[in-house]
C-alpha cells in the first residue's frame, strides 16, 4: 500500500486538474484578437500564481520533504540574488522569487552575519563557499555557477535520499539540460577548463568530465559529442536555435510529469501538478511577450510548451 498516504491529496489535486489551461484554450488565446476574448478564456481557468499553487499543494500534501526538491532551484536562485544584492549594496527583495522552501530573510541574515549554519543542510556549504568566492574575487559569474552546480547536486542528493524514482529522474533531467546549456555557453565563450569544472555538475546520464572535454574542444566538438550520446535530439535543436533547445528542456520535464498522470497514490501527481502550473504560467508569459512584440501566430504556437492536460 505504498504511497497511499497521498490518497486524499492526489484526489483533491486531480479535481483541480480541470482548472488547468488546455491546448484548445491556449490556441484560443493565441488566435484571440481582443482583450475581452482573452479574458473570457482566462476566466474559465484558475490562473493563480505559482506561489498560491504551491501553498495549496502543501496544504493538501502530508508533511514530506520529497516535494521540496521542486523548489531547490528557487532557493538557490534566491541565494544568488541575495549575495549579489548585498555585495552591490542593493535591496535583494526585488530579485527574490517565490515560492521557495527557505525564508529569504534567513538567507539574507545568514550572509550578513556569516552564520551559514543557520541555513538548511543542502545549502549551507554552497552558501559559505559562494560567499568566500565572491568576496575574494568579486566575480559574480563565478559564484553564480558555483551556486547553480550546488543546486543541481542538492537536487540529486535530495532525490536519492527521498527514494522517489520521479524525483531522481527530475533531478537527472534538470542536471542534463543545465549542463548542456552551460557547456554550450562555455564553448561559445571559450571559457577556461577551471570555470567549466566549477559550473558543470555531471550525472549518471551525462558524464560531466566528458562534457567538459567536449566543450573544451569548441562548439563543433561539443555537438559531435552530444550527437554520439543519447542527446542527439537536443543537440540538433541547439544547433538550430537555443530557443528550441529551451523548449525541449521544458518539454522533457513535462513528459516526466505526464508519467504520473494516471497514478492514484504517491507524491508524483502533486509534483506533476506543480510542474504543469509552471508550464502554464510560462506559456502565458510567452504569449504576453509575443503579443507585445507583435510575433506571428505560427511562431507563438511553435514556442508554446507542452501542456499537462
Amino acid at each position: 500500500m505504498s504511497g497511499t498516504k497521498y490518497a486524499f491529496a492526489v484526489a483533491a489535486i486531480k479535481s483541480m486538474e480541470s482548472s488547468l489551461l488546455t491546448r484548445t484554450e491556449i490556441d484560443r488565446l493565441i488566435n484571440s484578437t481582443s482583450p475581452s476574448e482573452k479574458q473570457a478564456v482566462l476566466a474559465s481557468s484558475d490562473t493563480g500564481s505559482l506561489e498560491d499553487t504551491w501553498k495549496m499543494i502543501r496544504g493538501y500534501a502530508p508533511d514530506d520533504k520529497t516535494l521540496d526538491i521542486l523548489l531547490y532551484k528557487n532557493d538557490f536562485h534566491n541565494l544568488k540574488a541575495a549575495l549579489k544584492a548585498i555585495m552591490s549594496d542593493r535591496d535583494p527583495a526585488d530579485y527574490f522569487i517565490k515560492p521557495a522552501n527557505i525564508d529569504t530573510e534567513l538567507i539574507v541574515n545568514a550572509i550578513n552575519t556569516k552564520e551559514f549554519e543557520t541555513l538548511p543542510d543542502y545549502m549551507r556549504d554552497a552558501a559559505a563557499e559562494a560567499y568566500e568566492l565572491i568576496t575574494r574575487t568579486l566575480d559574480g559569474q563565478l559564484s553564480d555557477s558555483l551556486i547553480d552546480r550546488a543546486a543541481l547536486l542538492a537536487m540529486q542528493k535530495g532525490a536519492d535520499k527521498s527514494g522517489s524514482e520521479f524525483m531522481k529522474r527530475y533531478a537527472e533531467y534538470m542536471t542534463v539540460t543545465s549542463d548542456i546549456k552551460t557547456a554550450y555557453r562555455c564553448a561559445k565563450m571559450n571559457k577556461p577548463r577551471r570555470f567549466m569544472e566549477n559550473a558543470i555538475c555531471g550525472s549518471s546520464a551525462l558524464d560531466g568530465e566528458m562534457l567538459i572535454n567536449a566543450a573544451m574542444s569548441g562548439l563543433e566538438g561539443l555537438f559531435s559529442f552530444l550527437d554520439s550520446s543519447s542527446y542527439s535530439e537536443p543537440s540538433a535543436l541547439l544547433k538550430e536555435s537555443p530557443a528550441r533547445f529551451e523548449k525541449w528542456c521544458d518539454d522533457i520535464i513535462m513528459e516526466l510529469a505526464e508519467t504520473s498522470r494516471f497514478k492514484t497514490f504517491g507524491s508524483e501527481p502533486l509534483a506533476a501538478f506543480y510542474i504543469a502550473k509552471e508550464a502554464e504560467i510560462k506559456n502565458l508569459r510567452i504569449l504576453s511577450v509575443c503579443a507585445e512584440s507583435g510575433t506571428d501566430k505560427e511562431t507563438i504556437t511553435e514556442r508554446m510548451r507542452k501542456l499537462y492536460v
Binding site: 484526489a11 483533491a12 486538474e17 497514490f265
Partner: protein, 157 residues
C-alpha cells in the same frame, strides 16, 4: 467445550477478522481519496460514496460465514455441538477462503475504487466506469464466499 469446537470458533473469528480488516482498510483508503475530491467539489459526494462502499462488502461476507459457522455448531442457539477435531478443522478450513480472499480482495478493491475516485474527480460523467472496474474485483470475493458456504454447509455435524 471440545477441541473441535474451539477450532470452529477460531474459523468463525478468522472469517470476520481478516475480511473485516481488509474492508476497513479498503473503505478507509477510498474514504481518504473521496474526502480529497469532496474538499474541492462537495457536489461529488454522492458519486464518490458508491465507490467508497464497494470494498466494504468483504467484511459482510466474513460476518455471514462467521454466523453460519456459529449457527451450524449450535453456538448461537446455546446448544454447542460436540465436534471432533476433524470436524472443527473442517470448519476452520471452510472459513479460510473468505478470510484470506476477503482481506486481499478488499485491499485491491480499495486501490481500484480510489483510482475510480480519480475518474470522478476529473470526469464525473464517467463515474460509472470507475464503479464497474472496482466491482470486477468483487467477483473473487463472491467466489471465495461461495466456496466457504459450500464447505461449511456440507460438514456433517
Amino acid at each position: 467445550m471440545t477441541n473441535g469446537l474451539i477450532l470452529a470458533i477460531i474459523g468463525a473469528a478468522i472469517a470476520s477478522l481478516l475480511a473485516g480488516i481488509g474492508s476497513a482498510k479498503g473503505v478507509g483508503l477510498v474514504g481518504e481519496a473521496a474526502a480529497g475530491v469532496v474538499s474541492v467539489d462537495p457536489s461529488k459526494f454522492s458519486k464518490v460514496l458508491v465507490l467508497e462502499l464497494l470494498p466494504g462488502t468483504q467484511g459482510l461476507y466474513g460476518l455471514l460465514i462467521s454466523f453460519i459457522i456459529l449457527t451450524r455448531t449450535g453456538l448461537l442457539s446455546g446448544n454447542p455441538a460436540e465436534l471432533s477435531v476433524t470436524q472443527g478443522l473442517a470448519f476452520l478450513i471452510g472459513a479460510l477462503p473468505i478470510g484470506i480472499v476477503g482481506l486481499l480482495s478488499a485491499l485491491a478493491q480499495g486501490r481500484t475504487a480510489a483510482a475510480g475516485v480519480g475518474i470522478t474527480a476529473k470526469k464525473p460523467e464517467h463515474n460509472s466506469k470507475g464503479i464497474i472496474m472496482a466491482a470486477m474485483v468483487e467477483t473473487y470475493a463472491i467466489l471465495a464466499l461461495l466456496i466457504s458456504v459450500l464447505i461449511i454447509n456440507n460438514i456433517a455435524v
